[in-house]
Symmetry: C2
Subunit: 292 residues, 2 copies
Amino acid sequence: MIAIDWGTSSLRGYLLAADGQVLEQRRGSDGILACQGRFGEVLSTLIEGWDGPLLLSGMIGSRNGWVEQAYLPCPADTAALAQAMRSYDDLLPGRTLWFVPGVSTGQQHGVPDVMRGEETQLVGLLAALGDGTHVACLPGTHSKWAQLDHGQLTGFATVMTGELYAVLRQHSILGKLMQDDPADLDTDAFAQGVDRSAEPGGLSHHLFGARTLGLFDRLTAAALPSYLSGLLIGHELREHRGDHATVHLVGSPGLAQRYALALAHLGVQTQRHPEDLAATGLFALARQRGLA
Amino acid sequence: MIAIDWGTSSLRGYLLAADGQVLEQRRGSDGILACQGRFGEVLSTLIEGWDGPLLLSGMIGSRNGWVEQAYLPCPADTAALAQAMRSYDDLLPGRTLWFVPGVSTGQQHGVPDVMRGEETQLVGLLAALGDGTHVACLPGTHSKWAQLDHGQLTGFATVMTGELYAVLRQHSILGKLMQDDPADLDTDAFAQGVDRSAEPGGLSHHLFGARTLGLFDRLTAAALPSYLSGLLIGHELREHRGDHATVHLVGSPGLAQRYALALAHLGVQTQRHPEDLAATGLFALARQRGLA
């Protein structure tokens, strides 16, 4: 089968064997934003020479994607997600395309939250972890924290850490004292930011400290971005890590490393999982639906 | 005497009688950023025909202003601030200019915080309130929360609420679903935001709700900016209002009204003070130093 993980700014295709083994992996340069609507063309090129049932997950199923998919409300499990997949025969000549839905919470009452793409990675994680109660963190522009309970995704929360970091560096007064592109994470400054997040005053007060520490030459222009990152990630962790002994991290190596570092600093163990959990998840959904 | 309140984007001059009464008030269009270094020229024009000792407060004493002034560490009172003022005879022909210093906390230990201009408004507030223990909020791009204890400014904190609001609207995904320039505050949506700030999850999680409430048509494009404002102000209040029965508000009528509304929503009384408290403060400092 063919598994497609198609996000806002990335596109990954996997050719899987009958047992789910990855036979071949291809990366496209076109996330859905760069496609400008030429989804069929881009996908045809990516999967040239590949055969089998075709499943897609990620922002490709959003309002700005190819065909908008509904959100399945939480709690949701692999069976419910597989059942909610919709197939289309008219998008690509000679192919049937299966789209995975997104997942939502609080859509009727309270404040809604949504994910699209992460639910498929979590299906992959559930397949790896099996039963039990787990908490998973998927860091990114918008991080997701997911509660997994006996094979079900029971709840989740989105935290805008990555976007806040980018927007504050590029467009707020905080960026003015910061070096544009520091080579590496300054682990001391990062840990200082994580520690600061435990103090009273709240995030928007702590943020101002990323200016004054620079003004008084207490942190260098190269160290300040790491401090800001530690501050934002620290606030995120303290609100969402809960009381689990281990947090399961799913994300790019660079980001996952920062979160692992911050969690270790707080005395929490982490287990890191490969980013291509989406392929594992799409295989589990295909098998559940009888497609693989 | 002549009192000058010169901020980043505003310039106000007051001619005061011997008893501190405002005889005349003039507004310049040039905050320090718009002056491009022509401070003497701009001030000469503003005070034409006015006579008397000349005191200045605000960002005019910052690194980007006319002559950089030191920060006086907290706790600070009217006498200490008056004593720390520095005079210059060489900036404007035939005039002596007195600059009020800024105030800092945590400059040696912990995370520093700074104010410049607000300390003078607080001197004015102290003159009005007299003894006792008070908390004052000066809303703005960077809000200040100040503890006043028996005539002393004992501590303060800066909160980046105003800048966060602007940056998130203009540069983050949250702005995409928002109306550009809604006519008025939507008080219901504002109160919803204030309420939301009491729930678990933290600010950067709550911010994402300002997207999903729009996505699910639970709040309109015109209401979302008010929700975001309520969310940010709500978080600020919960961290900084303390347990005082009354919060003293010093700021522009529009902003002070929002804060008063949010505080009333939390069951806290407010007392509003005029923005031109800077003139009162400069008069108190001049008198203390024997200049008026």
